[in-house]
């Protein structure tokens, strides 16, 4: 069932990526609260699980049984400066009447959502292809 487990790891990673993009989009209008901290856009980093060394080697033979799919390697915060908007009436405004909003790239987050959903679908199809193989293997020697 290794092929299906590999596809499963990718479903997990892409799901997390979609969650983080949604979280970023949800906070696009979150002004800095009383503590002054502005929400920072987060990005999910992912890479092959397990066989990191063989991933770097050029044209090298790989051990099939060592393949573990993909894994989240970290979540980084975007350190872009906040977007300042002049809103003197806003309770979150500073002495100059400016309110800090998080610097979130709307188009980038939408792209991430679309890309990750497509990759998610691709992994569902790959999982089904693997399932077809396992089901077919059960038919070996069966009288039809």
């Amino acid at each position: 069932m290794q092929a299906m487990e590999i596809s499963r790891t990718a479903l997990d990673v892409e799901w997390r990526r979609i969650e983080i993009a949604s979280q970023n989009l949800a906070n696009i209008n979150s002004a800095a609260g009383p503590s002054g901290a502005v929400y920072r856009a987060r990005h999910l980093l992912s890479g092959p699980a397990g066989d990191f060394a063989s991933h770097l080697e050029n044209g090298s033979a790989a051990d099939l049984h060592a393949l573990r799919g993909v894994a989240v390697t970290g979540i980084v915060e975007d350190n872009a400066p906040p977007r300042l908007v002049h809103e003197p009436g806003n309770p979150a405004a500073d002495a100059n009447g400016m309110v800090a909003y998080p610097a979130i790239d709307h188009a980038q987050e939408m792209l991430t959502l679309v890309q990750s959903s497509r990759v998610y679908e691709a992994n569902v199809v790959a999982m089904n292809a693997a399932r077809q193989i396992y089901t077919k293997a059960l038919e070996i020697g069966r009288h039809s």
Binding site: Q2, A62, A126, A129, H143
Partner: protein, 114 residues
Amino acid sequence: MDNTSAILMIKALDGLYARSVATAQNIANAQTPGYRPLRVTFEQALADAAAKGDAAIAAVEPQVERAAAGTPDAELRIDLEMGNAAGTAGRYGAVVDILNRELQMQSLAITGSN
């Protein structure tokens, strides 16, 4: 059924299964920057070994290699990988069907026409 064709088919199933695992790994890493896809080869080795006899066929193992950097193949194309996944599953099914037919004939030879 001669033994050779059964060993050949089982080796083909092994190779196709290995390819399905490699394809799953490639598709799982569709969003990994700089990822080079894995390729599984066994068909030529199997064809060469078939001419040499059963022992040579039994020694064939699928070769898993990462595409060499700088070649057009080194860039992961998800559409081609989906094609590989579907094609591999289809070929696996075809080999199982042929194996079953041969087993059925063997079973007929043992039991007679009943």
